[in-house]
Symmetry: C2
Subunit: 414 residues, 2 copies
Amino acid sequence: MRQSELFTKTTKNLPEGEESKNAQLLIKGGFINKSSAGVYTMLPLGLRVLEKVNAVIREEMNAIGGQELLMPTLIQKKYWEQSGRWDVDVIYRTGEGVKTEKDFQYGLGWTHEEVITAIAKHFISSYKDLPKAAYQIQTKFRAEARPQAGILRGREFLMKDLYSFHTDRADLDDYYQKAIGAYKKIFGRLGLQALVTEASGGAFTKEYTHEFQVLNPAGEDTIHYCETCGFSQNQEVYKPEAHVNCDGEVKSGRAIEVGNVFKLGTKFSEAFELRYTDASGAKQPVVMGSYGIGPTRVMGTIVEVYNDAKGILWPEAVAPFRVHLVMLGESPEVRAEADKIHAELSGLVGESEVLYDERNASAGEKLNDADLLGIPMRLVVSEKTLAAGKIEVKKRSDPKAELMTFAEVKKMFK
Amino acid sequence: MRQSELFTKTTKNLPEGEESKNAQLLIKGGFINKSSAGVYTMLPLGLRVLEKVNAVIREEMNAIGGQELLMPTLIQKKYWEQSGRWDVDVIYRTGEGVKTEKDFQYGLGWTHEEVITAIAKHFISSYKDLPKAAYQIQTKFRAEARPQAGILRGREFLMKDLYSFHTDRADLDDYYQKAIGAYKKIFGRLGLQALVTEASGGAFTKEYTHEFQVLNPAGEDTIHYCETCGFSQNQEVYKPEAHVNCDGEVKSGRAIEVGNVFKLGTKFSEAFELRYTDASGAKQPVVMGSYGIGPTRVMGTIVEVYNDAKGILWPEAVAPFRVHLVMLGESPEVRAEADKIHAELSGLVGESEVLYDERNASAGEKLNDADLLGIPMRLVVSEKTLAAGKIEVKKRSDPKAELMTFAEVKKMFK
């Protein structure tokens, strides 16, 4: 992609009151645009990052037998009433021809246990139909009172929600561990160190549930964790005496919740009468689990973790492009050499993975933009590199650049 | 994918009042689930089809310089008021803590001219920034009074909306023709014969706009068209004297509108003060176009066009799987042979492109399901084919099956 043709530009202007670091950096780089409080557009650069996050999540969900579907946003009142969640604060209500709140017909989907359970009734009737797992990656809506965390907590955000269905508790417990394994792989691939943290089950269960927490000052949660034994608890359930059989120190810190796993048990299957016939012919409620990851929040977390004074440092797995090729100077020779390298690089890593800055702009502007955009590998072609018969190569995470031959550069992408 | 592991099953049960053929066939096959009037879940099979439709659209949009982004659903009242569209009938309104209609803060996105124009103000200021084009594939919402056409016209549906930005009318006119060319390619690849049909510009323009109409009794529009010269007009603008310089017969028929292209001109750029500085330093309003395709409606149209008494006949480009491998009979020999063929086919076309029916079910049930699901190529392995050392091959669109060696079958996928 040629940078002169990009739909967006970097900017120094921030919308009023935008105080979160992730949103500031993403807006400056032209990754997102703020539409209103807690509501953002994913601009082409941002959508590229988000789709790479989604691709990693999809692979690991498919690997544990999840089948992707897409449920609706307009969820009828009767679904929410059946589970007792029509009156929650976070639900946006709407309908056709609404004059007063009595006329509302739908709640916008902020979670989909109700809908998936109603759907599963069509396809699960026998123990032979179990286990099953289905997930979606979908825009969700929550009426947050004062969203101030950029894309870490929006009123509109992307969510991956997986739901699993089992004959019994033991099978759910097995799958729950599989899901935890998949989540560890996902966050590892995305460059995030997520601590598996015990938390309260809220209205769902008296057992602990598990959150995946990334230590970071931008987090809204406080966790207590031990680096020696892996102990980690959310503040809401933490009691010092819970940390046993280990001499390690329990530290405390702010953390961002990037995922969670829940044993729903039979709460929703009982509310929606989702039952199966067991081998003896008796009717049993299906045992369920639910497993969430917020891709937009994950993207915001990556920005909160990977940045410096100059901009973002994208991990390779989610970078909007693999390589940023920057042409400095406008002599025909430099342009011809940069064009040639662009063509060869495109052949090597795919044209859509190379951002080629061939704009007529100053060296300072172009290099500052490159730091702000945060593509992991920067290649510079200039009069100086041309004279040396080399290319300047700099990793975004390294302070220093080095000169390499193009043959050496190409080896890095093989 | 093993059919026994599929999240869904075929069914004979239809929801009450579901009269559209596309929804009936898609529900029977387990492609979609009806959540409420005009609101459907895309089940795993349906989502596979929809994503193939989307992939074709994305390729052709990228080919004409469209850059993908993702705009919000929650669109603040002030945006709609700025263009005079807050009070349209089709808008769903919502907000935080709404008690009466005065409290509404957002309209759910049913089109995005307002939002994209506001975004473009950040990135377009000079003639050097033009032309530009951006699109999204996004769930949209319209408060349809009585949705009865299945996924042809839902209250919640997927939309591809492309917006283009130009210095002047001539550049818009050029791009408009390019977009028409891209649309022809898209519908051609999807197996739909779409007539480029002149229609009213409504509130936007006194010129004609163009609709892409597929002749079908399920259509809500009436068009008048000539097969000799390509003349086609929507009933709303048709005058017999418009068909000139051609002796061909003008026929009339019902048609489904699968896409449309609009010259917006400066309506939105003036409302949102989207201006650029021309080469002489003068401020000019940006000239805009918008271009829509509804992927869910396209999917419904394909079903309306490609079906018979037994079920759907998916065109190859959008089929949920390329091959349906059906094992009939349960002897260890048949299963071993079918497993072997499944493994080899998966290596050839990708495991995700083979649906393998290895269920313990009757031949009648399995063959009926295969017809209903409509995968273009069916391979049967049975005692009979085993004895012949061959495989039974049947195209969904052919009445007859034939026996072929596996070597011959494999050649078809090369």
